[in-house]
């Protein structure tokens, strides 16, 4: 009996420790006292010097937590138990969080410098009138190639990916929206299409891409392109910026017939404790010098047009990251298609993955 009680006690103790540890972990992530500002952001997505500068200017102590996917961030905040004062989700996730009442409506009277932002990055469908979010960085989906294997100009459009010359040499990002989207775009359709015939055609067209596909991978694309494992890859501009920095043979192309325009915007979750600090941070990041410094450090495109003016021309004149208005015109932001169409996109994508050469 004694041993039995011991065993029972042990199981209870294990459960107890797990619950306690979980509680502690949750508390640790997003601890706030009056003076602390808790920022929940992607890994390595702000110049650390700016955090120091912000702390010096405002007197807040910044607690910096990172996430590696929108879904992870969403789940964490949704679960509760956290009190991040600020997060930086992508646009489709912002739309979803607005739908689910997870975000604080912004008080625009407390925000200074919103007019520094380029008009074309404001008042977008996912957040009309920027009631809930302020643009942080933006970017595109495009093609990166290595000039050792691919001549300049050989790839300019999505259609070029299908060229027989690239047999078994294209790496794709592992995302249903992205890959279905590029196929839709290549046929002149919207990447937010909910037209079943268009989707079926796009999926059909993807099957013909199979002989050219070397692999469908995620973050590893960066490593593979730098190591020259593959000559062509479809990836996001942000990732591309890092690859270009590491390997001078790499070039990034934005197909001008249309592609995805994405945003990472600053939001204040409902659960925030220190909203004052959050507004202070928004205003801090809207200041052109700070935005410029951050953009130079991270390598992504800043939506702050006053900041762009402060940055070196070699960066801002680069069509790869600051494309012409003509190109911009054809870009689309992902809309929330609803669970049903997300399912359809994913099923097509799964079929494409399973399609063998």
């Amino acid at each position: 009996m004694k041993r039995l009680a011991l065993l029972g006690g042990l199981i209870a103790a294990v459960c107890g420790v797990l619950i306690f540890a979980n509680h502690q972990l949750n508390r640790a992530q997003g601890i706030t006292s009056g003076n602390t500002f808790s920022l929940y952001n992607w890994g390595d997505y702000i110049d650390p010097e700016l955090i120091t500068k912000f702390e010096e200017e405002t007197g807040y102590v910044v607690s910096y937590e990172t996430f590696d996917s929108n879904e992870a961030m969403y789940t964490k905040i949704k679960q509760g138990g956290t009190n991040y004062d600020m997060a930086v989700p992508s646009e489709y996730m912002i739309e979803r969080m607005i739908d689910e009442n997870m975000l604080e409506e912004l008080d625009h009277t407390q925000i200074k410098g919103l007019d520094n932002i380029d008009q074309q990055f404001l008042d977008l469908p996912f957040d009309p009138d920027n009631q809930y979010s302020i643009p942080y960085f933006w970017g595109t989906l495009g093609i990166i190639y290595n000039d050792k294997f691919v001549k300049e100009g050989e790839i300019q459009h999505w259609e070029d990916l299908w060229k027989p010359a690239f047999a078994d040499s294209v790496m794709l990002i592992d995302g249903a929206r992205e890959i279905m989207g590029l196929s839709l775009n290549s046929m002149g359709h919207s990447l937010n299409s909910k037209n079943d015939a268009e989707l079926a055609a796009a999926a059909e067209k993807l099957d013909h891409l199979t002989p050219n596909v070397k692999a469908i991978v995620a973050d590893e694309i960066k490593m593979y392109m730098i190591q020259e494992e593959s000559s062509v890859a479809v990836t996001f501009s942000g990732e591309a910026a890092e690859m270009l920095y590491e390997n001078e043979h790499l070039h990034y192309v934005i197909p001008n017939e249309g592609t995805n325009l994405w945003f990472d915007n600053i939001v204040i979750p409902n659960t925030a404790k220190n909203k004052e600090a959050a507004y202070a941070f928004i205003n801090f990041m809207l200041e052109p010098e700070n935005a410029a410094q951050n953009a130079e450090y991270i390598g992504y495109s800043t939506p702050n047009e006053e900041a762009v003016k402060l940055m070196p021309e070699e960066i801002t004149e680069d069509e790869q990251f600051y494309p012409s208005d003509e190109t911009m015109k054809h870009m689309e932001v992902y809309e929330n298609l609803g669970q049903e169409y997300i399912g359809i996109y994913n099923d097509y994508f799964l079929e494409f993955k399973m399609h063998r050469k």
Binding site: L7, L10, K214, E220, M223, E229, Q339, L350
Partner: protein, 269 residues
């Protein structure tokens, strides 16, 4: 006294219910809901009608079968030789050692070896052969998966062979059998328990491998695990994910039944 003994099963049963039975029931329950939260058999219908999922299931079985086969082909002789070596414990430790290393780290190590500029291709070019595409092929996927699963196959086989009464082998020789006959008629049949548990330990996890399918297979190899991951993390269609999970569980139960211990009577020839 008897009641007292039954009480000892309470914590064990409690544990089982909490961490095995309950999750399985939850998965089954979940599988009856579509994305609109209706109670329906829709997911099962999709599974059987789409073709994609059936093909994926077949794919999973095929790759799991290949991985298990290769693992077995390598592990059996290794385990057999191992029982004959002098420093068994040391060799065993060396074989177990890699299992302490994270799967992802091992996968990345293989990326380093198999990539275009990797060790393998450097060796090939040293031999005067042009670099080959090694990563993202079936061969590399099977190679790495087999490599990772080998310890889980060697250990049970090794244990079965170690437990084998050496006088049975002497008896076989004594009765006129040569080495091969002894192996075929005595050693192998008696190590089958080890082979079976090895097959279980390799086949079942291989059915749902998904990290390797992306990292080494470049998503050119799709298993049920990939689909489950996608349904839970991307489309958030937990119902469909659970449905695939249910089939995975069924597959596992079948494997267990097929390789499980049967009470045997009568002759085995």
């Amino acid at each position: 006294m008897k009641q007292n003994k039954a009480l000892y099963f309470v914590p064990y049963t409690f544990w089982l219910i909490l961490f095995v039975i309950a999750p399985i029931l939850l998965i089954i329950y979940q599988s009856f809901f579509n994305i609109h939260d209706d109670f329906t058999l829709e997911n099962y219908q999709t599974y059987f009608q789409s073709g994609t999922y059936l093909k994926m299931t077949l794919n999973s079985f095929w790759y799991a079968f290949l991985i298990t086969l290769f693992t077995l082909l390598i592990s059996y002789p290794t385990a057999y030789l191992l029982t004959k070596t002098k420093h068994k414990q040391l060799w065993l430790l060396l074989i177990i050692l890699p299992t302490w290393i994270n799967l992802l780290l091992k996968a990345y190590a293989f990326i380093g070896i198999f990539s275009m500029n990797g060790t393998a291709n450097q060796f090939l070019s040293f031999m005067g052969i042009a670099p080959q595409q090694i990563l993202f092929t079936d061969a590399s996927f099977l190679f790495v998966a087999t490599y990772i699963e080998i310890p889980f196959m060697i250990l049970p086989i090794y244990n079965a062979l170690e437990e084998l009464n050496p006088s049975l082998i002497s008896a076989s020789y004594d009765l006129g059998a040569n080495s091969w006959q002894t192996f075929r008629r005595v050693v192998f049949p008696l190590s089958l328990t080890g082979v079976k548990s090895g097959v279980q330990a390799v086949f079942i996890p291989s059915l749902s491998l998904f990290m390797l399918t992306r990292l080494i297979g470049g998503n050119r190899v799709i298993t049920l695990g990939t689909a489950i991951e996608q349904h839970f993390l991307v489309t958030e269609n937990w119902g469909m994910g659970s449905t695939i999970g249910v089939f995975l569980i069924i597959a596992m139960v079948l494997t267990m039944l097929l390789t499980g211990e049967k009470k045997k009577k009568g002759a085995i020839r």
